[in-house]
Symmetry: C2
Subunit: 339 residues, 2 copies
DNA sequence: ACTGGCACTCGAAACTTGTGAGTGCCAAGC
DNA sequence: GCTTGGCACTCACAAGTTTCGAGTGCCAGT
């Protein structure tokens, strides 16, 4: 059905449209890419491609633009992920060197990704679920307010405030702190939840109400569902969408504020070798019909800790973007892994 | 020069323009507000106001729109800050109740502020400089990687990663941890810096290199200049700027990513009673010529910990916006203060 | 199977025209 | 001496018209 040349034509259309953002016609196409055939032939091929649903006409007597299906085919079969130039690779590593903590790594990564892809970048903080408890700190802020700090093996720090009904006893706090650490340090967060219950029981009934409050709060911190953190950057690149602000840009801006939606967009974490690309309507959010997402996991070669990616118009330069996302994910994984 | 009625006319022009976003002419003005005079009279007043630089014409034979100076006069002399309705007040308090930690308070505040003002909200995290050390935690992540966690009296948690050249000795770490806490807990961050030096001296020379690395990192964490954190929200409200995306919205989006610029925009923290309003060109950033900033401090009645505010088009509804910003600042201060 | 030719389509840009909100100014009126 | 009605003038905007050309589909010829 689709012979080699038709695919060449589709590839040419996608590349041209991505470069110009204007519908591309048969003549222009033959001029720009040396396809070795006449416009008339290309027209026939185009008719076939349109028949199959890979391209479409915005209106009669205009050129063709790729459909979501067209981009899909292009990404899957007609393009190869572009590797970065040496200069770009150098820029990446120098950008990430010197981060002072996990937050800083994430912030720098977002900035970097936005900068080199010229798109909106999204980076998920390493998930808690796969990490383990490194240390738990309990600090009294005011006589009736405690601050819990949970430090995980991935270097992530979670805090919780606990309000109490009566003034707290410093001795009890110290006791609680040491018992919590003894019981939980080294445990995976998922397992730590169960261990928490037994800790409560070792306390005198009189102290149980305080302990229970702390435990509840810690449990909350352990069960991360719905509270996964995300960093976003490069929103100014949304200008690249062209006009029709209201229809294209606004929903994206709205989505960027809804971290729940972003998490869905990023999808399941994959390892840094595998790139997930969602094109237009493939996205699980209707506002992003003219938007594509390129995402991948990061953390370590074998097991992904979290996901990062970019959001951009469907008419983006997929090979370059995919290359950049993959490269950044690899570098970040490396930074997080080695010490 | 400017009698009572001329000021009334200016007020009417500002209110009308803010409501419609269209140049307002003499006839419309008389129709909508009952000024009790004829359009011709209003025209004369308008000519005077234009002479003084408070209003201007986009082109001949169009209505007038306020200039930055016009808005300035309006804000300073012609309007009163609008107090919120009971329902709005209730919404504010219910929105902020249940925050689990300082980060959460800030995040919720940004969201809330963006929602009720329908503008872009900016909230600065409570500054470190005025707070004191509550606790310092040193945790080994890997044999050669330490995580420092600094907890301040304001509930802010700072983290730093320290890489060492040789494997660390757990005993030494425990020792360091306790000495640091003994020496520094309760001290203001500004004073703590000096105390740090003396702590180093109490260690055996062999351990000094490790201790020095930790101390350096802590010092960094203490001196916050240039690393003040900021949260931004409600970027989708930028749609409200009308068209001319490229000229109005893009620079704002860019500014929102540059936290250094935002800090300048927010300016010095004032107490929650005083509202800072910067209109158009008054802003210390050229990209925001069509933008106004409404900001105020928050933290406690007497002393402001940090600043929060909104960024929006110069043609915003100042009375309502100012009322909302002030109200939110007060509520947040309250949340942070009482326990 | 490809190509050149040809009639046709139709959006975009350039130009034209009409309309009306708005202005400035002036002379008359309270 | 303000205020006002009247009047001629301006000019952006919208609607209508024309032109232009890139692009198309189809068909007959190689």
């Amino acid at each position: 059905m689709l012979d080699e040349r038709k695919l060449d034509v589709l590839r040419a259309i996608v590349e041209d449209y991505v470069a110009t953002h204007e519908p591309v016609g048969s003549k222009t196409l033959v001029d720009r890419h040396n396809l070795g055939v006449s416009p008339a032939t290309v027209r026939n091929d185009m008719a076939a491609l349109e028949e199959e649903g890979y391209i479409t006409q915005p209106h009669t007597s205009a050129g063709r633009i790729p459909t979501d299906a067209g981009y899909r085919l292009f990404v899957d079969k007609l393009s190869t992920v572009k590797t970065l130039s040496a200069a770009e690779k150098k820029a990446i590593s120098s950008f990430l060197v010197g981060a002072v903590d996990l937050d800083d790594v994430v912030r720098r990564t977002v900035r970097l990704l936005a900068q080199i892809t010229r798109q909106v970048a999204i980076v998920q903080y390493p998930t808690l679920s796969r990490s383990s408890v490194r240390h738990i700190e309990v600090v009294t802020m005011t006589p009736r307010r405690l601050l819990l700090v949970l430090i995980t093996s991935t270097g992530r720090v979670e805090q919780r405030i606990v309000e109490t009904h009566e003034d707290v006893d410093e001795q009890l706090i110290a006791d609680l702190r040491s018992r919590l650490n003894t019981a939980l340090t080294g445990q995976r967060l998922t397992d730590a939840a169960t261990s928490l219950a037994s800790v409560t029981e070792t306390f005198a009934p009189a102290d149980r109400s305080l302990v229970a409050a702390v435990v509840t709060s810690l449990l909350e911190a352990f069960t991360v569902e719905g509270e996964q953190r995300i960093a976003v950057g490069g929103a100014a690149n949304l200008t690249r969408y062209g006009d029709d602000f209201e229809r294209n840009v606004k929903p994206v801006l709205e989505a960027l504020e809804e971290h729940v939606i972003l998490l869905k967009l990023l999808g399941e974490a994959t390892n840094p070798q595998t790139l997930t690309v969602r094109i237009g309507h493939e996205n699980p959010y209707e506002g992003l019909a003219t938007t594509s997402v390129v995402a991948t996991g990061y953390g370590s070669k074998s097991e992904a800790l979290a996901t990062l990616g970019i959001v951009g118009p469907t008419h983006m330069d997929y090979p370059s973007t995919m290359g950049a996302v993959r490269a950044v994910a690899r570098y970040v994984s490396q930074i997080l892994a080695d010490s």
